[in-house]
Symmetry: C2
Subunit: 405 residues, 2 copies
């Protein structure tokens, strides 16, 4: 199969209705091609402004600004909600994805008996948190390749990534949720690789719980606060294991007994990160303005271009596509597998100025966030990769396993 | 007793070796007197610069900056360590005080049988976290006025604030730690109102565990990451209940089994807040430069001035000092109690441009962080308070109980 020409990618860019969004981000790339926005998204120009303004607000208003800050975890949750198919009052921005997963999985085990089911190849922090909880609460943990095959009751909780961090495969959110419910379990989704990347229909699927990261496709910056979702009718029945003062009814009465508020605020713990929340708000507003459907349309075109170029150029060089070929079965990154993937990835960074990342054992991930990635970026990134392997430049890199970027 | 004259306060400022530190902070006060640095500390000028630089670093270097960021929780912990009497490798900056308290208290209950002992009047989030853990882990919770009276074995954990958030009373860290050990318990200290305010000798006292806040006397900004301390010889024996990927040995190998690193890093959970850590580092470096001993000397002089003025001016107006009179028994804030305290506090803010805060049922807190508070600030803040009460300005304020500032 002949590869599409670069001119084709240029034509796609010229016709891209989202093309203008690229300039809303800081772009200091020079010759660099950045395809790791699925690990750390770019800095929106507006975010730099908003962070500076919030720092100034801290300096000038000091504690008197707290009335304007104190509801941010819920308010920014409401900004984020449409991106994951949730309603106002169902999303909270707080803590890290890991801590949120712990809180919600713990809460689920309070109200459901039985095993915890998750995927053996899922993101490590998800597996580790569930291992810990299963050990602490004396539950069976079923870590399997296909969660649907492991739902023999009693099952308390099914926990799964919506988009697989390694392969980019998109799970059937509604189908797995329904299967979990049929088994008597709650379904907890990790949206780290889907929020802002693909439309997420939590409400339509009847999903129970979700967590996710904001520094990938939501572009909120390194270690920005994560989010959590609890379906509204479930909120009153669940309780965070971490009984913190930011969840307390009449917080400043500081009463003797813990008595969490109604609503999503009851999943708060400590004092929220005001700077972090400003960045999440800016990132989520930008994605919402671009619009989930337009983003998805462009994303499919971007990943399809990368898949086509893989087939034309990379497959003959020993690559294998790690990502589903059907566009409706994948998210916004493609996984390019090669037995020498680690060295190739290092060479890409050091010699070709392409920044992807590597996930063991053999996957080079090309993240193509549609809000700022051009079709020529996708084309050039695959082109540089095939040239590099054709020239054998990676063979001069020492073997290793450490983090690449 | 006659009140000291303002000229005396001016003379103290003129002789203050730390006077120059005030200009290291953003000061946009105008007529305002800020005495709530014990709730939210000021913005160091350097912090605004560092945050802007880190935002720029995110924008330009993107994911390639992670190698410089990934160890920040430990590195900034090492910067903070001398301020709490800890050694390198004993302090971690991560998560919120609430989440850290949960992690360490949970870990302590893994290795000790028996009750949890804490103070009934301690900060709410501490009490709530312990209530939750006691319920979840089926332990007796002894919430008492004097923890030393409640140490009948078996006791697993004694948890206490080093400086009381309401009264400013300074606990005997070494004495209570020794008593806890004698009872077979671990001692967990909340340093939120002492780190950066008074010298903290965790190591010298043989303290086991500690947590604390960085946005008060450490001036790291609203909701900045908190810290935790685990004595080095205890680290290997303890395990966080939240098994996150940032604690994992060979994190990017992403192996199947959770296997936490040796050292303080094992108490990490999710991805650290890079911006928040920059602010904690700047704040801690500034305090360390001022020096714990010099800060303490000035702090005692400041609170002594406030106590003297209370006795001369406020006691005759129905006030009662809520803070210990012995300087070695108090921290860096004074508590001024009055039956009409809530209304007086509101009037102070609205009519006298003095910003303290209020803690029920009757305490107006004057926080006097020595690194940037002048003696004339302390003098003026008490002077405005007595004038206001003498004039009865607070009688025009409606009664209430909500958060004041």
């Amino acid at each position: 199969m002949a590869a599409v020409a670069r001119a084709h990618a240029e034509a796609l860019d010229a016709a891209d209705p989202l093309a203008g969004f690229r300039d809303r981000f800081v772009l200091e790339d020079g010759d660099r091609i950045y395809v790791d926005g699925n690990s750390l998204g770019r800095l929106p120009r507006k975010t730099a402004e908003l962070l500076a303004a919030r720092v100034e607000e801290w300096g000038s208003r000091l504690v008197t600004a707290w009335p304007d800050w104190i509801d941010l975890p819920l308010e920014v949750g409401d900004v984020l909600a449409p991106l994951v198919g949730a309603r106002p009052g169902e999303v909270l921005v707080a803590d890290s994805t890991t801590v949120n997963l712990y809180k919600l999985a713990h809460a689920a085990l309070d109200v459901r008996e039985g095993a915890v089911v998750a995927r053996a190849g899922d993101f490590p922090t998800d597996r580790y948190v569930l291992q810990g909880l299963a050990a602490q609460r004396d539950r069976e943990l079923r870590l399997v390749d296909d969660v649907r095959s492991a739902l023999a009751p009693p099952v308390a909780l099914v926990c799964l990534s919506h988009v697989d961090f390694r392969t980019g495969a998109l799970e059937d959110l509604a189908g797995v949720t329904a299967a979990a419910h049929e088994a008597g379990a709650l379904a907890l989704w990790d949206l780290s690789h889907s929020a802002g990347a693909v439309p997420v229909g939590l409400g339509a699927a009847g999903a129970d719980l979700a967590v996710g990261c904001t520094y990938k496709y939501l572009n909120a910056g390194p270690g920005a606060p994560a989010f959590l979702y609890v379906r509204s009718d479930l909120q009153e029945r669940l309780r965070s294991p971490i009984w913190g003062w930011f969840a307390q009814r009449e917080q400043f009465a500081m009463g003797p007994e813990y008595d969490p508020v109604a609503g999503i605020g009851r999943f708060q713990a400590g004092t929220p990160s005001v700077l972090g929340l400003a960045a999440v708000e800016a990132g989520a507003r930008l994605l919402a303005e671009a619009g989930s459907e337009r983003l998805r349309e462009k994303s499919i075109a971007l990943t399809s271009l990368a898949v086509d170029l893989h087939d034309a150029w990379l497959a003959p060089l020993g690559f294998e596509l790690g990502t589903p070929r059907r566009p409706d079965q994948r998210g916004a990154h493609v996984s390019l597998r090669h037995p020498d993937g680690w060295r190739i990835c290092r060479a890409l960074i050091e010699r070709a100025n392409v920044i992807p990342d590597f996930r063991g054992p053999d996957s080079i991930r090309y993240g193509l966030p549609p809000v700022y990635t051009r079709f020529v970026d996708a084309w050039d990134a695959v082109d540089r990769l095939r040239r590099l392997v054709e020239e054998g430049a990676h063979l001069q890199v020492e073997h290793g396993t450490a983090r690449v970027t």
